[in-house]
């Protein structure tokens, strides 16, 4: 079952991503290959990538985005679908945090997303317009307000910069709600609820407690959408009590993985974030339940819950719910996760994840752009002219991943080449680690680009490019949504015909087929008007034996492109002028229809000729009320023999009928 592997794959992928600290072409290619070879886990990988982008430090966001970019351009569906979900928040949140040089690169990257994949036949943009559009609009909005806001925020910059720096200034947060804090305060109630809901094995509560300890105290009334108010308050006060303010932040950073550069504190959109969190809560719960389910496949309770969760997830992903409902779902999920914690769990993956979630969730920009938060993004933009360099050294992190010998397995490198050339040319990528984004990997060898992420391949790997299909005819298997399979009914089939919706591949053969198909549509339209005048009728159904012998040709894939397509009389009269297409419509008269060639006494080969839109006898010709094989007739004529006297029609037909009966009874005896 691939679903069980998804977690492992996602985890491995996550770890591999965490090692990606700079624009290493090799690593990015590698991550792309992994993504391509694991399309069956596309959802898990996409989620891992998205959450990595959200959670990683600003310096690492750009390389992570390049992975995203490479995956969507080189692998495409289903990643495009999964990654386009929430792309707005992923992009904008990151955008708010990175410095100007990275922003420029993100702008460039965004531009490429609005265009087709370079060199691809598909003319559609990398991401659909409705995905990139909102991002663009938000950026334009932010830029214009940046200029206006610059002045009024210069005064507060000192504070802001101090606050973003955990190192030198150990107490950046104060309880006095000063205006500059407006955009950087997290919504404490939501955060707390999130923490206590989170599955334990991934996010140890102790750490979380430290992490968010100080947050309730900088809570401020404005800048938060009203939604956050509707969330349960109990988390708020209990956590306030449990968690002493302020002091734990730095110890936590120092002890638990200082590789995460403390990001600047951020403002929160309670609504959006709570949905994101809820989504990831649900995703996590699903993971937990899947494991449980794998262990106890017969437990109906787990099954039911898993189903409910999956349904919930699809609802959450497909719709926007009113806040009340979200709150309700939230409490439900909280209950469930309590319950899931209570039940004994199987040991999950052996290696604990390096807890990226210790970081406060990045901002959603919508709060910044939202009412009350006007101009705050502008402040961010303005403020960041001196890029934040605050970071603590990170010696511990990369050590476990000391690079193995450079020439490992010769993995097929996807066609990132052209993309990279393009990006290089555009100055988006630099071959060497970007100077503007300081790299923390001073301890790593210089040939880091040859470094292969510690990704363990999964045994049940499907061949490259094939769509994995793990459905079996069992009720439980049939109920699991598999959005990636749907694409094999849509995108994977190519672009649709505008007339009938039939899809054709964009390769050579597909194009040929499509051309023939469009020709067919055209001809049918033409002939329809002619036929209307002529009058048409329903044909007799075919006889059993003819039916068995007939073959379904794709209605429009006819190699013949003659223009003598009027059927009936026209066809026979056109034989002389067009010797290529020698056929005769099957006579309507049953007596004649069962006749044979008087020369060879064999039956005529019946065929559905799409050109004529009727059944025809190929190689047949009507001469003096008798039908001959043209080849037979020509042979006889060539031999100098004029038309021989054909056998009497009646006798012939009787013979034929007897034949049919003989065959029929033969079939019949076989059947019993």
């Amino acid at each position: 079952m691939t679903t069980e592997f998804s977690d492992d794959v996602a985890e491995d992928y996550k770890r591999a991503l965490e090692d990606l600290t700079m624009n290493s072409r090799y690593e990015i290619s590698n991550l792309t290959v992994i993504a391509r070879e694991n399309t069956e886990h596309a959802l898990a990988i996409s989620e891992a990538l998205k959450s990595h982008i959200k959670q990683t430090s600003p310096q690492k966001k750009l390389p992570a985005f390049y992975v995203l970019d490479s995956v969507i351009k080189n692998v495409g569906t289903p990643y495009t679908i999964f990654l386009s979900r929430g792309l707005y928040s992923t992009f904008m949140e990151a955008y708010a945090l990175v410095d100007n040089s990275v922003r420029r690169k993100m702008d460039e990257m965004l531009k490429t997303w609005k265009e087709p994949v370079p060199g691809a036949l598909d003319t559609r943009p990398v991401f659909p317009r409705d995905v990139t559009g909102p991002i663009e609009n938000a950026l334009i909005k932010a830029r214009t307000s940046a200029i206006q806001a610059q002045q009024e925020h210069t005064r507060s910059q000192q504070q802001i910069l101090g606050r973003g720096r955990p190192g030198p200034a150990p107490a950046p947060y104060r309880e006095t709600p000063t205006p500059p804090n407006a955009y950087r305060q997290p919504p404490p109630p939501v955060q707390q609820g999130y923490n206590s809901n989170y599955p334990q094995q991934q996010y140890p509560p102790a750490i979380n407690g430290q992490q968010y300890g100080q947050q309730p105290h900088i809570q401020q009334p404005y800048g938060l959408p009203p939604v956050s108010r509707s969330f349960p308050c109990k988390f708020d006060y209990t956590n306030q009590e449990q968690r002493p303010p302020t002091q734990n932040y730095i110890p936590h950073n120092a002890s638990a993985g200082s590789w995460q550069q403390a990001p600047p504190q951020q403002g929160y959109s309670a609504h959006d974030n709570s949905i994101d969190e809820l989504n990831s809560d649900i995703a996590n719960l699903i993971t937990v339940f899947k494991t449980d389910f794998a262990l106890n496949p017969l437990d109906g309770n787990i099954q039911k819950r898993l189903k409910a969760l999956l349904d919930l997830q699809s609802i959450m992903q497909s719709q926007r719910l009113p806040p009340q409902q979200i709150a309700e779902i939230k409490t439900q999920v909280a209950k469930l996760s309590e319950a899931s914690k209570a039940t004994p769990k199987a040991p999950k993956s052996p290696t604990p994840i390096p807890v990226p979630a210790q970081l406060p969730q990045p901002n959603s920009l919508s709060s910044l752009l939202g009412p009350g938060g006007q101009g705050t993004l502008a402040a961010l933009l303005a403020k960041q002219t001196p890029p934040i360099q605050t970071r603590s050294p990170q010696p511990a992190h990369n050590q476990p991943f000391n690079p193995p010998p450079v020439s490992m397995v010769p993995t097929p490198v996807p066609d990132t080449g052209s993309l990279f050339q393009k990006l290089l040319a555009a100055g988006i990528l630099s071959a060497a680690p970007a100077t503007s984004t300081p790299t923390p990997n001073t301890l790593l060898p210089a040939n880091i680009s040859g470094y292969r992420p510690p990704f363990t391949p999964i045994p049940s790997r499907t061949p490259l490019g094939e769509i994995p299909n793990d459905v079996v005819l069992k009720t439980s298997s049939l109920k699991i949504p598999r959005p990636h399979l749907i694409s094999s009914l849509y995108e994977k089939l190519g672009a649709p015909c505008t007339q009938c919706g039939r899809r054709f591949q964009s390769n050579e053969e597909g194009k040929k087929k499509k051309t023939a198909h469009m020709d067919w549509h055209f001809k049918v339209h033409q002939r329809m008007t002619e036929a209307e005048k002529r009058g048409q009728h329903r044909s007799w159904y075919v006889d059993e034996l003819d039916w068995i012998k007939s073959r379904e040709v794709e209605g429009d894939q006819n190699t013949n492109n003659g223009d003598n397509t009027n059927g009936s009389g026209v066809a026979s009269s056109s034989i002389a002028s067009k010797p290529k297409l020698q056929y005769l419509p099957v006579p309507d008269d049953p007596a004649l229809a069962s006749s044979t060639c008087p020369i060879c006494t064999e039956k005529f080969e019946m065929k559905w000729l799409d050109e004529a839109q009727e059944f025809v006898w190929m190689d047949a010709k009507k001469i003096d009320q008798r039908i001959y094989h043209i080849s037979c007739y020509d042979d006889v004529n060539k031999a100098g023999i004029k038309r021989g006297t054909p056998e009497p029609v009646l006798g012939k037909r009787k013979h034929e009928v007897d034949d049919n009966i003989a065959v029929r009874s033969k079939i019949k005896t076989e059947s019993y």
Binding site: L473, T475, C500, R502, R538, S539, D543, E544, E552
Partner: protein
């Protein structure tokens, strides 16, 4: 001689002028939701997909192409969300809960079996769909057929439900290979005509049962099924593409509702070597099927996979009036074509003495249904009664068989249908029949079967 088409003129006239301003509605469908609509007979609506993707029973709709629907209960489903424009009166609503995930997964599970079959040179899955009336059997069959053809397969679709026709007239049992797109506006599409068709035609092989319920005369129904299965199997053996895809078999709802019906299911399972049974909506039926087939092996030693699928919330009960209208529409379409394409049937006079007409024994049917296992006892009564034309036949349909008038009744029964004629007039004094035939050929050298299904109550002409 041309008879002016009926049915086509009326809707066109009703909707030419008034609806230009009237009811153009635009609906936004979210991903994974379904727009269900009903259009009464005699009315029509136009539907256009403005953006997104949409499908009707698995057949993808083209964007910005106007589809016209008449007299139908149907639904448009979207996996990715879409916007549709609807022009015309219909009952409609939006549904977010659908069993489509299960259905599409069923398709993909079958795809896997097909891949395996092609690799091993075996036969693709023979899928039987059972369930009570109005459970969505035919819709599911259509969906699975459409998905299969979209992926380049050629499923053999078998209809064993004589109440509803597939590409033919009710009363027939058919086998049809599907290689091209299903005509969403016209149910399943059209059988061949002498002219071009905007949607590729399908080629059904028809057998005539001529009664509404299989249980009316199992002595007739079973051998016809056997014959149908044999022909389908021969085609599969000959045709590698269809062989790899397998069969999808639709059944009448009535056989899923009782003891006698279960026996018929067993008969179908053995004749068609069914190895996959999809049970729609009924727990009881599912457990009964489990009981019957859990230890069953097909002729080639395969076990039967049995799955219960949920009935769609969109299934609606079709009352007798609707069924009657559907039947009439199918008959009209056979002779006169659909709105896109008018057909011109021919009338001809037939002397009583020239016509060989067999009437299906119904008394026999009654008798045999009370005599379980009385297979041989009633043999002497015969399948059909050779009858002289009478005024009883007025407005009835006769099936013209691919057989000779001298053939035995069994041979006639096992013969496939050449076509249908409609008795327009019976002149008992002059001993003459006036019949409507799809085309102008003599049919008197063929035996004709007179069934009680479909019932025609109104004059076609």
């Amino acid at each position: 001689m041309n008879i002016p088409g009926l049915g086509q003129a009326a809707p066109a006239a009703t909707f030419s002028a008034p609806t230009i301003q009237a009811a153009i509605a635009v609906h936004d469908l979210q991903a994974n939701s379904e727009w269900r609509f009903e259009v009464a007979y005699g009315q029509s609506i136009e539907v256009k997909i403005l953006s997104g993707t949409a499908e009707i029973f698995g057949t993808e709709l083209a964007v910005n192409h106007t589809y016209t629907f008449r007299g139908t209960k149907s639904s448009i489903f979207t996996w990715h969300g879409c916007r549709i424009e609807v022009n015309g009166p219909c009952e409609e609503y939006m549904a977010e809960e659908t069993p489509m995930v299960t259905y599409v997964n069923t398709h993909f599970a079958l795809e896997k079996l097909r891949d395996d079959a092609i690799q091993n040179g075996g036969e693709g899955p023979r899928v039987l769909v059972v369930g009570p009336n109005n459970a969505g059997k035919t819709s599911l069959v259509k969906l699975l057929t459409a998905y299969a053809t979209r992926m380049g397969r050629q499923p053999m679709v078998i209809n064993t439900d004589s109440r509803e026709a597939l590409l033919s007239i009710p009363g027939t049992l058919t086998a049809t290979p599907f290689a091209s797109v299903i005509d969403v506006e016209q149910g399943w599409g059209s059988s061949p005509t002498s002219g071009p068709s905007p949607v590729p035609v399908k080629l059904p092989l028809c057998y005539y049962y001529g009664l509404a319920s299989p249980e009316d005369n199992t002595k007739l129904y079973k051998p016809i099924l056997t014959r149908l299965a044999l022909a389908a199997a021969s085609r599969l053996a000959d045709d590698p593409v269809i062989k790899g895809t397998g069969m999808i078999i639709d059944t009448p709802g009535v056989i899923s509702q009782g003891k006698g019906g279960y026996d018929l299911i067993s008969h179908i399972v053995s004749e068609f070597a069914v190895n996959t049974i999809l049970v729609l909506g009924s727990e009881r039926l599912h457990s009964e099927m489990q009981r019957r087939f859990s230890a069953y092996k097909t002729r080639s030693g395969e076990t039967i996979t049995l799955v219960k699928l949920d009935k769609s919330g969109g299934c609606v009960d079709r009352d007798d009036t609707f069924m009657q209208q559907m039947q009439e529409a199918a008959i009209r379409e056979y002779f006169f074509g659909d709105p896109k394409r008018t057909l011109s049937p021919h009338t001809q006079q037939v002397n009583f003495d020239d016509a060989t007409i067999y009437k299906i024994h119904e008394a026999n049917a009654m008798l045999s249904s009370f005599l379980p296992g009385g297979e041989e006892d009633n043999q002497q009564i015969g399948l059909y009664e050779n009858v002289e034309p009478s005024s009883m036949m007025l407005h009835c349909l006769l099936a013209v068989m691919y057989a000779s008038t001298r053939d035995s009744q069994e041979t006639v029964r096992d013969a496939s249908v050449m076509g249908f004629v409609y008795v327009a007039e019976v002149d008992e004094k002059k001993r003459r029949l006036k019949i409507l035939a799809p085309l102008n050929t003599r049919i008197t050298d063929r035996p004709m079967i007179w069934g009680s299904w479909p019932e025609t109550t109104v004059s076609l002409i």
